[in-house]
């Protein structure tokens, strides 16, 4: 295919090209295409190989209970930029079987497992379709609309029991187990054997067995409680000597079914819950969610609000990256002293967040059509002091301490290499993708808010190793600094909210996907509205979660000690991985 045929800004009408196999999605408020399940693999293969849609960003399901349909929604991008090609596959609810895209896009791996786990959609051809976020003995598929949790009260909030005849009491008293648990019918915890777990160990053991020397591999569990895993996270690794030959992450220890909660909540009530996804960068999470709902509502925040939003998002990015340098030191074995240096810088930024939003970490600051409140007095000056003086200076100091440090260089250079093809295919995003030589940054590739007006460069490095990931973050923090300097210089006066603040927003029926370049990568919110006060579907495309798909590729062939480093360099937050 010659180069001039690729037009980035336009989405081709694939219903013409694949006549009979693909039709347009004509439901009101919807866009994209509907692909017949039996043609999915062909169509996607062609889209990838001939039309250049090589980046499968999001796969998720929607349960259309009233119509008895289950829909799988795909968001496909070009890694050279441009808007999404959205297409869907519809299957009957009780026979929800869809071909797996695993062999075309590895990024489908975990996302399909998630859709199987939470929605009960079976992906044929997926080699490892185990539950991922809930435990093996979990009863049912929780995101199905007819599934109810042990503390079930009502389908949607607000619950009627709270007012005007408010009842109150400890919630566990309503539950026969006095516990937040629910077992499948006939389940006996005493005799139960976790089969998937056994299978996982067996497959780890199998690798590297019958070699000439007849050496055995050793299976090691790293985590779930381990200081190096940045939270509750487990990796099952098979080792040949010191070398990793197999590695599978096991996640879900922190799972709370954020999406189910989100579908019970009203639109506004979800805002503080998004803070708890990636709790290091709650402002960015707010941003993504606000964008998605605003897209549905068809409103735009006023100028000043946009500036404030970008200011907060960039402060978050800066702080997140500096934080990750602290962790890098930590993972390299320099225990906690340098980490505290990073925390110090973060503290000063959290002071600002606290002053504007009322909370250091759980900011809950964005509203649909603006932000919750204007910058209090003195905050802008404080930000100015930071962005013009302290932040650049501290970055230089970190640069000086780390970049030429022999220990850092020896450990990081050449460690955990991810090639550009792998990174794209695995759906890696954020600094992980850009460190592998793919200059893909949503702020430039598919601009939102005021980023098209701001002057900054997309950082890219080419070796795809841990060192380049570190450099990418360092340079990106510098670019954030540059953006911040422009923002504090140009921020206009004016209102901070479009329309009146309302606790019950009207969201027209339809679907929307809002995505931002969060510090960790592409953070997307897929929302389906039926016009009611609560979203019908609320899905989070979590960058930490999908970036972990690449972990095995990074670790295989390396030393076991480097696993810690690789994991740290992906920069995950378990609150977002497990949701």
């Amino acid at each position: 295919m010659s180069e001039e045929q690729v037009t980035v800004a336009q989405i081709p009408d694939i219903s013409l090209q694949f006549e009979g196999r693909v039709v347009k999605d004509t439901r009101a408020g919807y866009s994209g295409f509907i692909v017949g399940a039996e043609h999915l693999l062909d169509v996607v293969q062609t889209l990838r190989d001939e039309l250049g849609f090589d980046y499968l960003s999001s796969v998720t399901g929607v349960d259309y209970l009233p119509e008895g349909k289950m829909e799988v929604v795909y968001h496909l991008y070009r890694s050279i930029g441009g808007p999404a090609l959205v297409f869907k596959v519809q299957v009957p609810r009780d026979e929800a079987v869809v071909p797996s895209l695993y062999h075309i896009f590895k990024s489908a791996d975990w996302q399909e497992r998630e859709a199987w786990d939470l929605m009960g959609i079976r992906f044929v051809g997926h080699p490892d379709l185990r539950r991922i976020l809930t435990w093996e003995g979990f009863a049912g598929h929780p995101l199905r609309k007819d599934w109810k949790e042990p503390y079930f009260e009502e389908e949607t909030k607000p619950y009627k029991s709270r007012w005007p005849e408010g009842i109150t009491g400890y919630i566990e008293d309503n539950n026969p187990y006095h516990d937040n648990l629910q077992y499948p019918a006939g389940f006996d915890p005493e005799t139960w054997i976790p089969q998937a777990e056994e299978a996982l160990y067996a497959s780890a053991q199998k690798i590297g067995r019958d070699k000439e020397l007849h050496t055995d591999t050793v299976v090691v569990n790293l985590g779930p409680q381990h200081p190096s895993t940045h939270g509750v996270f487990r990796m099952v690794a098979a080792l040949d000597g010191e070398q990793v030959v197999f590695l599978k992450p096991v996640v879900g220890y922190l799972h709370r079914n954020h999406e189910k909660i989100g579908e019970r909540n009203t639109y506004l009530q979800n805002m503080p819950f998004t803070d708890r996804l990636d709790y290091v960068s709650s402002m960015s999470n707010n941003f993504g969610y606000a964008l998605a709902v605003e897209k549905l509502m068809g409103i735009k925040p006023p100028e000043r609000a946009d500036y404030i939003r970008v200011m907060m998002a960039e402060l978050t990015r800066w702080m997140n990256h500096v934080f990750s340098f602290g962790f890098l030191w930590n993972d390299l074995g320099s225990y906690f002293t340098p980490m505290i240096y990073a925390l110090e810088e973060r503290e000063l930024i959290l002071d600002i967040f606290e002053a504007v939003s009322g909370s250091r970490m759980m900011c809950n600051y964005f509203r649909f059509g603006g932000v919750a409140r204007d910058l209090p007095e003195g905050v802008l000056n404080k930000v100015k002091e930071l962005v013009f003086e302290r932040m650049p200076r501290q970055l230089d100091a970190i640069d000086k301490m780390l970049s030429t440090n022999e220990i850092v260089r020896n450990r990081c250079i050449g460690c955990g290499v991810l090639t550009a093809e792998q990174a794209i295919n695995n759906g890696a995003s954020g600094p992980n993708l850009r460190a592998s030589g793919v200059p893909y940054d949503i702020r430039r590739a598919d601009p939102y808010s005021i980023y098209d007006r701001l002057d900054f460069d997309v950082v890219v490095h080419y070796h795809g190793d841990v060192y380049d990931r570190y450099l990418t973050r360092l340079d990106e923090a510098r670019q954030s600094n540059r953006i911040l300097q422009q923002v504090v210089r140009d921020i206009p006066e004016g209102p901070i909210m479009t329309g009146k603040p309302a606790y019950q927003v009207r969201v027209p029926a339809g679907e929307a996907y809002g995505r931002v370049e969060a510090p960790k990568g592409e953070l997307g919110f897929y929302i389906v509205s039926t016009g009611k006060p609560n979203p019908w579907r609320y899905h989070v495309r979590a960058p930490s979660f999908i970036n972990l798909t690449s972990l095995e590729d990074m670790c295989r062939g390396g030393k076991i000690a480097d696993v810690v480093l690789n994991l740290g360099a992906i920069d995950i937050v378990l609150g977002e991985v497990d949701r």
Partner: protein
């Protein structure tokens, strides 16, 4: 492989270490346990370690800081407590984890609702400190508190009732002066407008 980079890192660490003592020396006794000292340790140009020695020292919280909600009451001349809350239920509806529950008062004679809560509970174990209740209460009746030291040995008693939640207006004005005066200002303006709107209507009616 000269080790220069490594040494420069050590130098950086050493510099920080020294700076802490230099700052201590420069600021003297004032650096710790004084309001001024705490303030100087959160400035953008702070150097060395700037830990706050909690609990002996506490960071002053900004006005917008939020922790748990409380109900605001006006103090009557004889010390009676007049809650601003009208039991309209908006806060209970907007609360994301649904931890507010309100019993409305009904007039014993007519059975009609009276704008006054009979009971008001917040399960503070469940409260996620989001501040939405305070943000959307149309009567400025529920506000976010600054008190964050609430550790307790048991969960019992963590469902706060109306007694425990009520705090006087003066307390509110004390912790959030800017918000308070802005609200008062808005209220007075509204009342003035109302009064102004009434007058011409009255004269018109007379004419």
């Amino acid at each position: 492989m000269t080790g220069k980079g490594f040494l420069s890192m050590l130098l950086g660490v050493f510099k920080r270490f020294v700076m802490t003592y230099v700052e201590d020396f420069r600021k003297g006794k004032k650096r710790y346990y004084t309001a001024e000292g705490i303030e100087s340790r959160r400035k953008a140009d702070v150097q060395g370690i700037f830990t706050i020695q909690y609990p002996e020292e506490k960071l002053p919280v900004p006005e917008e800081f939020r922790f748990l909600p409380f109900l605001v009451y006006e103090e009557g001349p004889n010390g009676e407590k007049d809650l601003r809350c009208t039991s309209c239920g908006i806060c209970a509806k907007v609360c994301p984890p649904q931890c507010i529950s309100i019993v409305r008062t009904n007039d014993p004679v007519t059975g009609k609702p009276v704008p006054q809560p009979k009971e008001f509970y917040i399960d503070v174990d469940i409260c996620m400190n989001c501040g939405l209740c305070a943000e959307y209460c149309p009567f400025d009746a529920i506000k976010m508190d600054h008190d964050y030291e609430l550790a307790s040995y048991t969960r019992q008693g963590n469902i706060y009732d109306i007694e425990r939640l009520s705090k006087p207006v003066s307390y509110y004005a004390g912790i959030r002066p800017t918000n308070y005066s802005a609200e008062e200002h808005a209220r007075q303006e509204k009342e003035a407008l109302k009064a102004a709107a009434k007058k011409p209507a009255a004269t018109e009616g007379a004419g």
